[in-house]
Amino acid sequence: QEGQVLVPDTQCTITLPVPMMVDPNATTDEQASSAPVTVRADSSQAIAGVSAKFQGDVKLRQGNRAINADNAEVLQLEQRVLANGDLVYQDPQVTITAEDLTADTDKYNATLSQAKYWLHGQQVHGDAKKLQITDDNNIVLQGGSFTTCPAEVPDWELKADKIIIDSNEEWGEIYSAQVRLFDTPVFYVPYMTVPVSDKRKTGFLFPSFSTSTKNGVDVKAPFYWNIAPNFDMTITPQVMSSRGVWLATEGRYLTEQHAGMVNLEYIGNDRLSSLTGSPDRYAYSWEHSSRLDNGWRLHADYATISDDNYFNDFDSAISASTDNQLSRVGEASYFQENWNLGIKVQDIKVLGDDQDPFQVMPQLSYQYRMPAFYQGLDFNFDTELTNFTHQDNSQLSAIRWHMEPTLTLPYQTPAGSLTTEMKLMQTFYQQDVPSNNSEPLYDDLDQFVSRTLPQFRVHGQANFERQLTFSGSPYRQTLEPQAQYLFIPHQDQSDIGVYDTAQLQDDYNGLFRDRRFSGLDRIADANQLTLGVATRFFDDNNQEKMRFALGQIFYLSDSEVSLPNESNQIQQSSSALAMELDMQAAEHWFLAGSLQLDTNAGTTNKSEVTLDYRPGNNKLVQFSHRYVPELAIDEETGEFIDINQFGFRTTWPIAKDTYFVGNYYYDGNLNRTVESYAGVQWESCCWAVRLTYDRHLNTNYSDSGFTTISQRDDYDTSWSLTFELKGLGSSGPLGVSDMLDEGLFNYRRPYYLKN
């Protein structure tokens, strides 16, 4: 993440009309209301025990509240204070100037008229015909205004009948507000909530407007509802002219040990052009993770949608349009120094009409690690017991128990390392083949299978280095040749079903792996030697400036284990030659690439290269190219699909408060753009306007279970204008992080890591 650029916003500082008279970070504690009242004045007239009038530069203090005025009166019997004339009230969180004031001395409240107020520590200020500070130190403004812009005539301002600023919960409620932009009323909002401290969301996404071929004109207006200190909710209705009203609700909770998020999204009869009969569409998801004191960690993730194209047609918070499956998982894991235990249930729902995978109902896993338990030997033991089932129970189901003890002897010196590893893999299957099966693959599956496979691996590496000077500066170059021999005997595994196994992608990192298949249902026989060499250049404070590595596997004998009706045996003598490069070419230029050459056929299996120009924070220009022939087979046409994609991305500050973010991806095979996105953001200290254009390829799933889908157009084009109020929570720039989350290629989806 490029992170924030700190826009020097010197003109954003809001200056208080009066120097600070109280300690701003003192707490406004309750017992302060029973603190003595000290008054200084030029003259005073008092009736003992009843009341006292003060004139002339009156300064009244009680606990950490301060009132300055021309004259004041303290009514001892009624425990009240009146003051007027050039009056200033100040307590740790607010400074107010007003015409007059009445306040209780036994309770922490005050009422001021014709007031102007400034919240401390942020840019919120405004005025009010009547301003009340209540006992639970809320600020209630009648006939007031609210803005974060420093200028005399604020760029934006909310004039409202009533504004309540709840300083404990740090957010504000605004009733029947008139929104004024540059001192002209723009529109009226009956009720609105705003965060008023940086603990809450920094920017309040003001109603945002956009037009797109899919939605027509749409307006989004998020409401922020602060239910409790650790539970808040954002409700975002989105009115779409050509479709209807879509409501997205996101609830977040966070406590010491638990955190989670619930999303509910619904639209009643979506009049989207490509749908017939404007159906209701919905999506809901719940994600939860806990870390308990007793060492257990829990994680649950469940999502469901009304139809497979839901994510393509809505800007959903649950998933991006590029996600093609819904994970439904529940897992509990327990960690200790040398071992850990896990139990997991998983049922992945795949979008589109592809076959859903097996359900894991449940999987128990146990891992034991004992490094250097005897003469430098490491002992690891992994075992897992999995019950595979399927939604429609006419399908195959099975119980698999796998055990894997491993002995490793790592030997390492600066000059090199030698690692020898012995492993025994024992797996039991109990497979229930459905009697009325029509699936030819099931014919040779046995009910009980036991597979025992030893594995021997030895990996050696030598580390050479030398000093050299390159274009005048000293470098240390290392040369690290490495070799690995792997042996796994062959065992026919065609009597085992395929539950969680597929061929692993081979690239440079795969050269030194000990498996060709993921999962456990196929363990490929191997008798292979992998040779590789890497070289690195370090500058004089040991920063790595360049790394180049290449390697190749030499098969000493063929590998026969393969997946049913897939030709992934190995008959050739060597794998593709895989190379990787990562270098800082010049002060701001970075080049990275990887290449896989099929030395037998002389063809390129895969090539990717990216050239970055990164002169500073939030300044990036990147060119990229990916070429992956025969990545997949097109189901309808049966032909291979090649990836030949050119990419261009940039993030660039155009002026002091203006950023440009753009990317452009072009498909070289079909000669058409994949996505072109451009966003410009102007930012002043109390508002930000963002104009974005995004044209990207539509993802279409055929969803037989949903209303018939007529042919969708290939591309969705959208313009959107977002106006964001700033300075509500913490002041400071938004930077480009929001823009970096938009568009197909920018969006980054986080994964849950349980340990």
Partner: protein, 167 residues
């Protein structure tokens, strides 16, 4: 108290010197004046009497001179100042030179304080450089003045006098 005015004024002192022609007597050295519940201690006292010898005005000076009297509301009023001027006819007490007065829940400090004993009205006037300070204590707190809150630079912290009786 109202009844104090009917009591006779008793004055004790180490020395006294009469200056009869203009009707004044000067006492000095541990001067103690009492009239009913009223009690004034001072280093020096100048008594101005009317032509027919009854006391008109007492002017006590001390470092500081102190005053104490029981009020109608049963609360004790106390004061101290460089000079305490007590005019018996109109029952007005005038304190000057960093005067301080404590009564019924409030403490007043300033240059000159005028206290009308009958109406229990208190007027204070600053002489320009130092403002009048009044401290109102919540009903339950005692009368000991709070140490000055630190943000006020111009007021030197005033230490309460030892041995002050609480009401």
């Amino acid at each position: 108290l109202e009844s104090d005015t009917r009591e006779k004024v008793e004055i004790k002192a180490d020395k006294s010197k009469a200056d009869l022609p203009n009707g004044t007597i000067v006492y000095s050295g541990r001067v103690r004046i009492s009239q009913g519940t009223l009690l004034i201690n001072a280093d020096e006292l100048r008594v101005e009497a009317t032509d027919n010898k009854d006391v008109k005005v007492l002017v006590a000076t001390g470092t500081p001179a102190t005053y104490q009297q029981m009020m109608e509301n049963g609360k004790l009023a106390e004061a101290e100042a460089g000079e305490i001027r007590y005019s018996l006819q109109d029952r007005i007490l005038t304190l000057s030179h960093n005067a301080e007065m404590r009564q019924s829940g409030s403490l007043v400090k300033g240059d000159t304080i005028q206290y009308d004993l009958d109406q229990q009205k208190l007027l204070a006037e600053s002489s320009g450089d130092e403002q009048i300070t009044t401290i109102f204590l919540p009903a339950d707190a005692d009368l000991k003045p709070e140490p000055e809150p630190k943000p006020e630079p111009e007021q030197a912290p005033v230490e309460p006098k030892q041995g002050e009786q609480q009401p």
